[in-house]
Symmetry: C2
Subunit: 331 residues, 2 copies
């Protein structure tokens, strides 16, 4: 029996323009997950305290114990960590030539509130695969871990995207050029680059936020979007914060998803008028993020966000962080 | 009466993934255009040799004289240079507060073959506005010149895009984040970066090549495209030629436009197998370009292109250049 505890950070996917291809890492907010790997079925049966909800396949048996304050699915099969570690177990058996299934228990200790839009599910999946890779003696690269963690995203949203799990594992700002194989680029992060996030307590599932989007976009909108994607990447690499700010524009998802967020347009205007570099919806929402280039400005953004949702009578919490330079890590 | 002669280079728009947002500058191939600015109508009437085809507006009178080997429209109003210099004349009168219309003759001296797909119309428009700006004492910035030259693009394609006129004026590799206002970024050009182009003698008008494209694209294709746009920009800025090469992929225009080019798929495969970084259609075609990182490799590409179109029984010419670092210039 071996056990390790891992922290994986919250993340902001899309960052305005980069739908499904880009995400940044928050600092100091995230999930803590412990993974226990048992020597065999017998040890699992004797020690795993949540074995009653276990998921069983030929490659692994996984039980999930929720010790966080959040409500999570009751069976292991419905928790995002399970398809992630299960994909990893299959790959591990194939790689090692072993036929012995893996027996493990995953304990969710601290949890970003689900449905926040700052990569709650990604943080759990990322932490779980990072922990299991450590317990197995690091058979897989970090990029490969992203592939496994994406299976958790597939479970909750129907699509295996890497814009949250990428940064949750690698840290910093991650760009995903494409899939099959997953082609990740870690982009440089400017000094003094802050992200303020407000999570209004509104329930929007990732799937609901995805289903509201039309399957097709006009070529004109698509061109505008990829102009901004290139502008954002160039802004980061040229350390041109104004260019980066101008590029935080989304004509694909924001027009649809903003309906879920009370007073979104007014909030965005106030934040931009106050000098934020860029403002948009975090991932599929309902959280809203603002980028800024000083701690003072970020704090100004936080106050505007707080007063906005107080006025709306909507509960919320705020996060104010620099970009986290490390992703998943042992704690 | 003042006269100046300007060269403006040929350009490759889109560069595979960056439909309407990106273009590179060829070296040593382009248009030469002379602009004569007369003191008044009387001088124009006495000296302008093509005054019979003139375009007349409240801001300017423009005659166009074609001394190149190519066939061009017979009236000034139908030549791309005219809307370009006309937009500039209007802006100049407004800026200077003058009410005196400008009288000019534009002589097309050397001309990239029209319909080649390497920015033939853009080179003429770029040269004309660059020349007129010089004769007027440089009232406008280069970025503003791009706006004027785009009016030439609007005349022939129905859309005022900057992916050819941008590099034709500024040189290098130009990225267009967006329009209104035109937001141009000059990206760094790696050392030892070559572009080989083959122009098969097939007639495809820019408008025809645009009309074949569907007005809408699937969100999935759009995401793939902007993943590649970001990858290309990051590849250039990180000097990662492999990443840049992987990003030269187009799911928006190439699937439709390749039908105009005999044996396109076979040609592309041969070029990629020979080690080109990326291969795609130049602008709206029918020219095909290949990027490579050595002169030897570029020459290898040129030979493959030549043998391909010889086998197809299609006339062609090839160009092999490094990326041109300067755009329009006085000669």
């Amino acid at each position: 029996m071996k056990k390790v505890k891992v922290f994986a950070p919250g993340t902001v996917a899309n960052i305005g323009c980069g739908f499904d291809v880009m995400g940044l890492t928050l600092d100091g907010v995230g999930d803590v997950v412990a993974v226990t790997l048992y020597d065999d079925k017998d040890e699992f049966d004797r020690h795993a305290s949540a074995s009653g909800n276990a998921f069983v396949s030929t490659a692994c048996t996984v039980s999930v114990k929720n010790n966080s304050k959040e409500k999570l699915p009751e069976t292991a099969a419905k928790n995002v960590v399970t398809p992630a570690v299960s994909a990893m177990a299959e790959a591990f058996l194939e790689k090692s030539g072993s036929k012995e299934a893996l027996y493990m228990e995953i304990e969710i200790i601290d949890k970003i509130r689900p449905g926040s839009g700052i990569g709650s599910s990604a943080a759990s999946s990322a932490a779980a695969v990072y922990a299991l890779n450590h317990l197995l003696g690091h058979p897989f690269s970090e990029v490969k871990l992203v592939d496994f963690a994406m299976e958790g995203e597939r479970l909750i949203s129907g699509t295996a995207h890497a814009d949250n799990v990428g940064p949750a594992i690698l840290g910093g700002i991650v760009f995903i050029r494409g899939y099959n194989p997953t082609d990740l680029i870690k982009l440089p992060v400017p000094d003094d680059f802050y992200c303020t996030v407000v999570h209004p307590h509104i329930t929007v599932s990732t799937k609901e936020a995805r289903d509201i989007l039309p399957a097709n976009v006009s070529r004109k909108d698509a061109i505008r979007q990829w102009g901004n994607v290139g502008g954002f990447v160039a802004g980061l690499l040229l350390d041109d914060m104004e260019l980066l700010g101008r590029s935080v524009e989304d004509v694909i998802a924001e027009p649809y998803r903003k309906k879920f967020i009370p007073g979104y347009d007014a909030l965005k205007s106030r934040l931009l008028e106050a000098g934020m570099l860029g403002v948009n919806i975090a991932g599929s929402g309902p959280s809203v993020f603002a980028l800024s280039k000083s701690a003072d400005m970020a704090e100004k953004g936080r106050k505007i966000m707080a007063s906005h949702f107080s006025d709306q009578g909507v509960g919320f919490e705020t996060y104010l962080t620099q970009i986290g330079m490390t992703g998943a890590r042992i704690v």
